[in-house]
Point group: D2
Chain length 439, copies 4
């Protein structure tokens, strides 16, 4: 059961200080009970999974339950924390920053909290960005705004330089809010710290608007993303239906996974086609996308198509793979491509009117909705509890609807994708009327 | 393990007809796989729970996984379904109606679907309401509207009369969307059907804006509810901060459970006090609510108080318990009461300005947000799959983030409440700064 | 033509300093041209009004055009301004504050700007509130929030004391944002200043969510008010239609004038009755409100009623008139009254379900919508231009869609009301189907 | 005074039938008074304009006041009306359709109302679109949706064919909702009708999201347009501020006039540059746009640029002017162009991050906000009153805040543009800090 070892969180040492939180150690007194290291949650909750463990007489794969520990590792009064936000915008970043600051300040009494400007760049003194001192007063209203008050950047910096910066500024806890690349970077910082034998905890709060972090139920900002996208689909439908044989194409985020495209389409059931990276579709041929689109127009005279940015990459002729500063594969623009292919195809068939909508930045820069706000503050609180107890190189997330700690390494090995045989995708097909296969 | 038996869903018989859904029976073909009756999900997902089962050598408490079955019980072409909506408004009712109609019509080919007007009243011919024939065209846009297109009513009708009505109209499947009382009514109908040996399936889709249905993760409409409530808390804060020693009191729904009040306060962290039914607080005395409120005003000169409608009932002198037509205990108005008590208390202390806000109907009548829209259509689809397979007296819900079927009897025995020792309430206390005890 | 004299703005002296604004004095150079004192706008724009002037050989009643003057009265570098906000909340107050600060600071170079806390109370040193120094950095984001960052209060303070405070703090310009009572107070301050021969300008920016300031086209916040109210009417309709013979009553603001109730009902045409203070309606009798309501229910089985808070005051038996701290007549609660009367009336007729909604604070505390934001910043800029030029005891407003200056005295003598014979009310009756007379 | 003749509305004859509206002919009875043909409103409301007329002893340029007339031309019971919507989407079209149907049906008793599908195409039988019968029940909820329920198209159809269609279907009144090209088409239909001596009234309701119809205060949908655009500017600011030297470019509608770009920037004051078609700016040189942008970045490290689609056309090298199907000049894409020029310019200067946002379709397809809803229903009512009284070839609009009728010919001769020397543009410059000249 190698997996079980993978899910073990590393710790900077056995925590020896008494937590300043006035909590309980027993149930029944109406006071929250400290979480113990033996509080664990099973990953595979199917009866089949249980039966398998039982048959093999082995413990199931488990996660550490997140929450405040009775003993902590860092002395709050003499600790400095730092927060850094990396990569593209995503609803809820400011909520997470706010939650971390509030938790460090009010729950534990950590008074010195540094905001690192413009992502990992801010940990490289050469960039000359300096730090922003974060206080409750400074962050109390920021949850109402999208974006990140710290600024962000893409791409890596020299790990050794960043650890030097942490050391020079006497930072004990580094909270990194970022996606796959950022989490890998955070892990590398954590490993360098271990190598040098330093007493610094590094924590990741996974940020991916695409909801493609492996294992965890969902990432923050994702619900807001399709909440913002869904009325735009209604707009698109207005545009499509407003013209004879009107076609609206909406390109949504989703580099490797089509969760936003699929969820928004479920939320606003005016969509006829959802093209996601997971789906291997063809344009031409009897059951190809264009032929099916033509049938749709012949009967209903309008169509709404949602396409995730990473969909249909197999349709391009590739020479070289290009990546952005974060190391993400740069996709050819499927939206523009699709628009052109549809235009070409119908030029011989019948006149169509095509409207193309790309609302990505509007979605990325939105403020978190209520559900994400609640989620973000909980993530922040749990991250602080874990860091204060001396855990390191971990992320906080929800699995099977419970907050747990996971090793960074466990969530960055691969991306979460839509299971084309699962219930979620089946819902999408049921809702849109799209066939299982296109081509 | 009597519980296991409770969680067993009853069936009208072994389903013998082939499902018209073109799905798969094996994994790996990119087509959704039918759910088998042996697909089950474990309830208690803690390692402790697992260990207990292991020690006792018994199967853990499980739920049937929801989804389409390979064999169905009703012949779609010769089946009639009916949908009824009962009790107070809740965001998402129309989405559920829409989802049921679409699933019955398009997935299975059930063409005759009756909308029952004005709740259980509509199943009593004496009321003279008649039926509304539901078609895809009639329901396609209704997800954009709050309320219920069928109308609703509170209270019970004679079970025997309702079963007669189903029989007379040749109804094979009754979908009831409603709360605790409605589900009990639905169960009673199901039992009468069993007693008479009829071939009619009854299904419940739990509807409670308070999110107080036992066992299931959440009920539909709940997320929208606190999503609508949360900006109103910001408004309230504007009112409170706009006056010297300004106090805003917002009364939110929550007859027995304070989930809306607590979640909205977490989502919009401008709240200083959250008073919920689960909390046994005192007004007077050294650590009583009014004294703590006074301290708050002395330092910050404004305060925001969220109170759930069922909070503080112990503060009233009761003579007789009164119930509404749905059988719910009628609460004294804690909001008005609190306003008066605060006014009285401060009349001798210093001048305060009190603003009282009761947005209940605005919240109840809202359209579902995107997250609830996705949730509602999935609930509807799963309900249809279950009914078509001949299951009866069951509800559909999410437990540990997975869709499952549960016997109605399992969820109506008691209300779900906030665990005052749990992580959720602890988050609320952390976010508001409210002490564990008031009084 | 005594009116013409009334509309003359008083000035602290002939302005002698050169404006720092780099504007033009001629047309045709693509640079804004300074407004001259002879730029005037006619009030009565009907041909009939024009003909009357022609016949009598007299100049029509005019207003001074608002805008920057070539000469100013105050030396920006040595000037201090103060801003005070009084009375109930209204969308847009923060936008006006922001606009004034930006205009004083960036356009003219006035660096010292005092925020007066909690209304006129803040000009009474006894209250001990102090001042808040306002800078562009402090106000740059406040337009996104409802309420007032300065706080507010109702009621008057000793005029002499307030003038002393202005003098003691070397204030040259006082900007007062408030309603009828506030503007009268502002005028009294201006008169005391004149009496003492001081060199202080006082300016009013009329704030009344009810839109009842005489002469001017509309007051800021009013459009936002019915923009917020109108979806609530849709909610109310959902509640009404959700029950058999369901009735929704929505009480909206409108102490003396029903503009919000009427406009919201026009904007969301689901309303059947709009009861405003201007309308003299009866409850009972053949054509009385209750009888007409009954007819409506008999045919449609639900009804939506919007009632302005000041409507139907003639229906109460009055002993003493009560006023609030601002001197406004305290109305009996027509909403609760109506609910009770409807309940009583139908108790003998047929069962009805009544839902009562009072969203007042939610509307008052909202942030300005886009239209009001544009309007508020223009009002603020114009107020600053007028004050800098040494005008005093004036308000800024739009008349016939143009920005003008008006003497405070001209707008406070009476309230603007809906003209029951005018086109606006006729639209409301057309839209709702409500008869001209009720009773 | 040739203008006065231009503003005269043509009539199909002296109306002889009694209006079915139960209105009054005298003031003082609390009932709306019919509008008389002599009720006129003066256009130029400046004292200067009055004085000029007075000096020349001539009547000022006037408009006919809109509203119901005591005598009407068409017999409602035997009349058929038709409604057609042309050109691009604009918020409020459905509200106007709804208002026309309601006014015809309920006020006058016209029962036969034809919806013409897909613009003028629908009046060409060759297209085979047929008609949609419009009833109150069909239109009662459509005001809540953006788009047009009738569909639209661009471009002209043969006038003679369209008049034949009206004749064949016995249409007495044609309501055309559309922009400049549509209104010209409507006028041409009206002239053909006159030439043939037919008894058909044609009415225009000017629809231009750009607000560029000459003479009238504003066109419907415009306020909604910048209300939708303004939070997107906030998003854009989040994106710009989220990166070091981040630049956000937002392209908004505005083919010949920059009202949306300017108003949205005033409403959401996070914008640093507003580039409109009226402004003749240069990219390069000491005071050129790029140099000024560089200065901004050097001090603030982010910038937000709003550009109207028709701005900067002088910067392109033109060979041929291209027009779309509506005859509008097709602009080169200034947004993409600007993005490229900025990228090129800074490639030698310092690294910048550019985010490009084009929300046009999201704005066009939105539902009307409350203010526009009120406006649209009034426009519709006034259009119906005018048509019923036999007026033809006219539009309805607001001038100086009053509803009037204008000849179509008066509003289509040229486009309304931002006056660069007027107060509105000055507000924009004040709010953004943008200099009068760029280049």
């Amino acid at each position: 059961m190698s997996n079980k070892i993978e899910f073990q969180i590393e710790n900077l040492g056995v925590p020896k200080l008494k937590s300043p939180l006035q909590l309980s150690t027993v149930r029944g007194d109406d006071i929250f009970t400290f979480i113990s290291e033996t509080d664990k949650m099973v990953f595979d909750t199917s009866l089949e999974g249980y039966a398998k463990c039982l048959a093999n007489n082995e413990e199931p794969l488990c996660f550490e339950k997140a929450g405040p520990r009775q003993n902590i590792h860092f002395d709050p009064e003499n600790s400095t924390a730092a927060i850094v936000t990396c990569g593209g915008l995503c609803p809820g970043i400011n909520n997470v920053i706010r939650g971390i600051v509030m938790a460090l300040h009010y729950f534990y009494g950590v008074k010195k909290i540094l905001g690192v400007p413009y992502g990992f760049e801010g940990l490289n003194p050469e960039m000359g960005h300096g730090f922003i001192e974060l206080t409750p007063d400074k962050v109390k209203d920021i949850h109402q705004f999208g974006g990140t008050i710290l600024g962000s950047s893409r791409g890596a910096q020299d790990v050794s330089v960043m650890v030097d910066t942490l050391l020079k500024n006497d930072v004990q806890m580094l909270f990194t809010i970022g996606g796959d690349g950022t989490l890998k970077g955070c892990n590398a910082i954590g490993e360098e710290i271990m190598k040098r034998g330093l007493d610094i905890s590094v924590v990741g709060i996974p940020k991916t608007i695409d909801n493609d972090v492996d294992i965890i139920d969902k990432s923050f900002g994702f619900e807001t993303a399709f909440d913002i996208a869904s009325p735009i689909l209604k707009d698109a439908h207005n545009e499509a239906a407003g013209a004879y044989n009107g076609i609206a194409i909406i390109k949504l985020m989703g580099r490797d996974s089509g969760f936003i495209a699929a969820s928004a389409s479920l939320a606003m059931p005016v969509v006829n086609f959802v093209l996601v990276p997971e789906l291997d579709f063809e344009l031409y041929g009897k059951n190809g996308f264009l032929e099916v689109l033509k049938s749709r127009l012949e009967t209903k005279h309008h169509a709404v198509i949602v396409v995730a940015e990473g969909a249909g990459q197999h349709l391009f002729e590739k020479n070289d793979v290009m990546t952005d500063a974060s190391g993400n594969v740069q996709h050819d623009d499927i939206g523009i491509f699709l628009k052109q292919k549809i235009k070409d195809y119908f030029s011989d068939v019948f006149p169509v009117t095509i409207k193309y909508i790309d609302p990505s930045y509007i979605i990325r820069s939105a403020a978190a909705n209520s559900s994400d706000s609640v989620f973000c503050s909980s993530l922040a609180y749990q991250a602080v509890h874990g860091a204060m107890s001396g855990k390191t190189k971990f992320v906080v997330g929800k699995v099977n609807d419970k907050f747990v700690y996971l090793p960074i390494s466990a969530v960055v090995s691969k991306r979460k994708k839509i299971d084309l045989e699962g219930g979620f995708w089946f819902s999408v097909l049921q809702s849109t009327g799209q066939p299982f296969f296109l081509g």
